[in-house]
């Protein structure tokens, strides 16, 4: 370990095959005995059902895990009462069984050691040994550099248990890619405009909207469940969909208007739409008068952005820009200009988000039926524990250059881990939970340099993802189907909670994260923060405070509560009262102006591909999430690898054929580890290529996913960082094609 170069280890290196198979009963209790479900016992298998909420993506749909007589999980069905899924899971949720049954799962703790050949390797360890080592290392590093120098990089439900551990330990050097590599810019943009984050699930009233505008958001390929369901419902009611995308996405195929925009020019279109709506006086004047600030400044600002001006930039016909602006205005306030979700594209993403928010503000859709409803959630009471100590520095200090950063910036934590980088504070160790950084974070060389420099690194995962090969201690987590977790409480039309309870004992020698966090906490002398034997004690305490109980929640899975915050839609005769500085919709942002940023968005031209290169656009497929599902046998069966979409004109120039395998090379001469299949299709512009994110795994222990397709993340070596909140724009990367096998490094 120490400071020597951290060799990537193939996870099973020292595996003897004689794994400790003692099935743990942590968190299982006697929950299975009374849950036989005759209603769902179609096959006469005596299926029992246990409530859960899904962890394959972040939508967290509540469901019933079905278990057969042998105790095996056979299927997962959505909970009818759940507003996230309405009884219908998406393919990943239905295929969640494959996460449980995947034979490639991590099976027992491992510790990095020097092998006989002098190379690093993993040694199987007992939980005692692994946890003792983690506690020892954490205290030693904290003594020398402070607890703040140990960072937590996390995603998903498990992260919350480690977040509690870290805050108790004195570190809030915490970050997750879900912010600066994903939805951060839109949250900042909407906070600046309406005073609050969009949050998840988005409070878009799609089921009742008359006009849905999507800017690069590919609903239906992203299976954000209830949102997809509502789009289908809206299609039944003849909604007008306007999709702006250089690619003919699935939803573009269902849209009345598809605007095949030149990539990286969205702000020009948004400004031109504002120009049309303002100059043709298509907005509701009373609303603008009563509820907004800065209209006159906005009006003066957008005069220069005519549809004719935008045409030269976006390649979209002025008439089409005008028609679609009028469609939105006709539908207002039942119109949604969707904020999107993964929005870290070009580095001016918060400003693009601002343009989207301003457009919504002008159209009056905030708080209105068919626009954005007034969301509400129920607070889950905090299980009592001593106050967290106050860290001397933390994620804030590392994000100082970005005044509107509202969460930890993963890339700044990474930078602070590199000794030569000029940062005020230094990060010495990482604890990584539920996020496969090499297939998530742009600029992989920088990431591996940071990992090389660390004194210590712990990785918690269910699968041998790439990140696990860099761990000093590797902890196998059981899947969401085998554990308790925190209560799900999310913003919706009506507050509700959902329970996740284990449907089977953890397979192999895996454990739940709450248990790992508690065990490490005990070893660090933080027992007062973990005053419970089993996480079900915490849940029962919280649920009783909320007027229910663990026993009741096991029977129903989801519980709804009455709204308390006021009406779902703000009545038309009532001014909207927002938590912004002005209390109104901020078309013009004084906060931005004060700090020297554009108070109203402007258009900036972005880099364009050079001769022979094409802009790399990436996205999702409905059956996969991140890089996490590509080894799931059931989901890999649906889509085993990604392909690269190439316009027929481009394919002709290069002589590329459908189904041919090629390698991609980016502007920095980085070549994909593996070849990728060509898909010649009219569905993509000639200046861009498209691929689905999350493939091209180079960890051989992922026996299904290894070497299948190419990794878009590997091609993303350049980022354009958002000066407002630190989001890493990732769509300024360009690739070209190699038809002969290049000399790739054995990984």
């Amino acid at each position: 370990m120490g400071t020597s170069r951290r060799q990537f280890i193939k996870v099973s290196a020292l595996s003897t095959g004689g794994l400790a198979l003692a099935a743990s009963s942590y968190g299982l209790g006697s929950s299975l005995s009374d849950l036989f479900d005759p209603e769902n016992d179609y096959t006469g298998l005596n299926l029992k059902r246990v409530p859960t909420y899904c962890e394959v993506c972040f939508w967290k749909c509540a469901a019933w895990t079905h278990v057969d007589k042998k105790g095996d999980i056979v299927k997962i069905i959505g909970n009818d009462e759940d507003p996230h899924c309405n009884g219908r899971l998406c393919p990943r949720g239905t295929g969640g069984v494959g996460m449980y049954s995947d034979p490639d799962r991590l099976k027992t703790p491992m510790i990095r050691v020097k092998g006989k050949d002098g190379n690093d390797t993993f040694k199987e360890a007992s939980w005692e040994e692994a946890l003792d080592l983690i506690a020892l290392k954490m205290s030693t590093i904290a003594k020398e550099h402070g607890p703040e120098s140990i960072a937590l990089l996390k995603h998903g439900s498990s992260g919350s248990h480690f977040e509690h551990l870290f805050k108790a330990f004195g570190s809030d050097t915490i970050g997750e890619p879900a912010y600066a590599q994903c939805r951060g810019p839109r949250e900042t943009a909407f906070a600046l405009t309406f005073g609050s984050w969009i949050g998840s699930p988005e409070p878009t009233d799609i089921r009742d909207t008359k006009c849905l505008v999507l800017i690069g958001s590919h609903i239906g390929e992203n299976m954000h469940n209830s949102q997809v369901q509502e789009v289908a419902e809206a299609i039944d009611k003849d909604v007008t969909i306007i999709t702006v995308d250089p690619r003919a996405s699935t939803i573009a195929g269902k849209s009345k208007y598809w605007l095949p925009i030149k990539p990286a020019t969205d702000i020009a279109l948004l400004l031109a739409w504002l120009n049309v709506i303002i100059n043709e006086e298509l907005y509701n004047k009373e609303h603008v008068e009563a509820n907004t600030v800065g209209f006159e400044e906005l009006k003066a600002h957008v005069q220069q952005y005519t549809p004719e001006w935008a045409y030269t930039i976006t390649t979209l016909e002025p008439a089409l820009i005008r028609t679609t602006a009028r469609e939105m205005a006709d539908a207002a306030p039942a119109v949604i200009v969707h904020p999107g979700r993964h929005v870290t594209w070009y580095g001016d993403d918060t400003q693009r988000g601002r343009a989207v928010a301003i457009l919504n503000g002008l159209l009056g859709s905030w708080g209105k039926r068919g626009g954005f409803y007034n969301k509400e959630k129920i607070k889950v009471p905090k299980f009592p524990h001593p106050k967290y100590p106050h860290p001397k520095w933390g994620w804030h200090s590392l994000a100082e250059d970005y005044p509107f950063a509202q969460m930890g910036l993963t890339q700044e934590i990474i930078r602070a881990s590199i000794p030569e980088e000029d940062t005020k504070h230094k990060v010495k160790a990482w604890f990584v939970s539920g996020t496969n950084l090499p297939n998530t974070i742009p600029n992989r060389p920088l990431l591996t340099k940071a990992i090389d420099s660390l004194d210590f690194m712990v990785v918690v995962d269910t699968m041998p993802m790439e990140i696990t090969g860099y761990a000093d201690v590797l902890l196998p987590e059981c899947t969401y189907l085998e554990r308790y977790d925190t209560i799900r409480s999310a913003t919706n039309r009506q507050p509700s909670i959902a329970l996740r309870a284990p449907a089977a004992a953890p397979k192999y020698n895996s454990k739940p994260s709450w248990w790992m966090a508690k065990e490490i906490g005990m070893r660090l002398g933080l027992g007062d923060y973990f005053k419970y034997d089993d996480f079900s004690d915490v849940l029962d305490w919280q649920l009783k405070k909320m007027g229910t109980s663990l026993a009741e929640m096991k029977k129903i899975g989801v519980k709804k509560f009455p709204r308390k915050s006021g009406p779902l839609y703000t009545p038309d005769n009532q001014p909207i009262n927002l938590p912004t500085n002005s209390g109104k919709i901020q078309l013009y942002s004084a906060e931005l102006e004060e700090l020297g940023f554009d108070p109203i968005p402007t258009y900036t031209a972005h880099d364009e591909p050079t001769e022979g290169f094409y802009r790399l656009i990436y996205g999702r497929a409905p059956m996969h999430t991140f890089s996490r599902t590509s080894n799931n046998p059931m989901l890999a069966d649906l889509m085993p690898e990604n392909n690269v979409w190439i316009n027929p004109k481009v394919a002709k120039i290069w002589g590329l054929k459908n189904g041919q395998y090629i390698w991609l090379k980016n502007q920095d001469d980085v070549i994909t580890d593996f070849p990728i299949q060509v898909r010649v299709t009219e569905r993509i512009r000639w200046d861009s290529v498209y691929m689905v994110h999350g493939f091209g795994h180079h960890e051989k222990e992922l026996t299904v996913a290894y070497g299948k397709g190419a990794s878009d993340t590997q091609m993303i070596t350049q980022t354009k960082v958002d000066p407002l909140m630190g989001g890493t724009g990732m769509r300024g990367n360009f690739v070209t094609f190699l038809t002969e096998q290049p000399n790739t490094v054995e990984s």
Partner: protein, 177 residues
């Protein structure tokens, strides 16, 4: 009683949830499927039409797989559901050759397998698993003999097509277009 399915291609996003739900409901071995999703693209950029649809056995009224089966294992069940009695199937594959929809496969256990409209669920008044799970609610199952059923109404009011009508099999999957 005449069971049928209508699938609204205007709503289908091609997510393949129907495929996974079928696999977990019917214990279909990994690598095999009883239903699948097809995408067709017509036109040139940017004037395109994209159609996505979930396909499966068409439970034909004039099913060539039934007439070509030498043992009688391929047969019509209640409501016209076409199914294979596994115990009577010798796995000869004549039905596979005769099916214009390529809807059948050889199960690793040696018999021919295919969509049953989830007979075991339908008997209990439930929708087939694919219909029950579909996040876009784009699939409808019901009795075509009942003029008041949702499916009868959809097929009588909406534009639709069937697959390979030229095969003369009288298929019972209707694609709303």
């Amino acid at each position: 009683m005449r069971y049928a399915m209508a699938i609204d291609t205007k709503k289908c996003v091609g997510c393949s949830d129907c495929v996974v739900a079928c696999q977990t409901e019917n214990n279909v071995p990994t690598g095999y499927c009883r239903d699948w999703v097809i995408e067709t693209v017509t036109g040139t950029y940017p004037d395109l039409a994209i159609e996505l649809r979930s396909e499966r056995c068409n439970h034909c009224a004039e099913a060539p797989c039934v007439s070509s089966c030498p043992t009688g294992a391929s047969q019509y069940g209640p409501g016209g559901i076409v199914f294979v009695e596994h115990d009577e199937c010798i796995g000869c594959g004549a039905c596979i050759e005769s099916c214009p929809y390529d809807a059948r496969y050889i199960h690793p256990d040696g018999y021919i397998d295919k969509c049953t409209f989830c007979m075991h669920r339908v008997e209990k008044g439930q929708d087939p698993a694919c219909v029950a799970v579909c996040p876009t609610n784009c699939m409808y199952f019901g009795d075509m003999d009942d003029p008041n059923s949702e499916i009868s109404k959809l097929v009588s009011t909406r534009k639709y097509k069937t697959l390979a009508p030229e095969a003369g099999t009288d298929p019972k999957i209707f694609y709303l277009i």
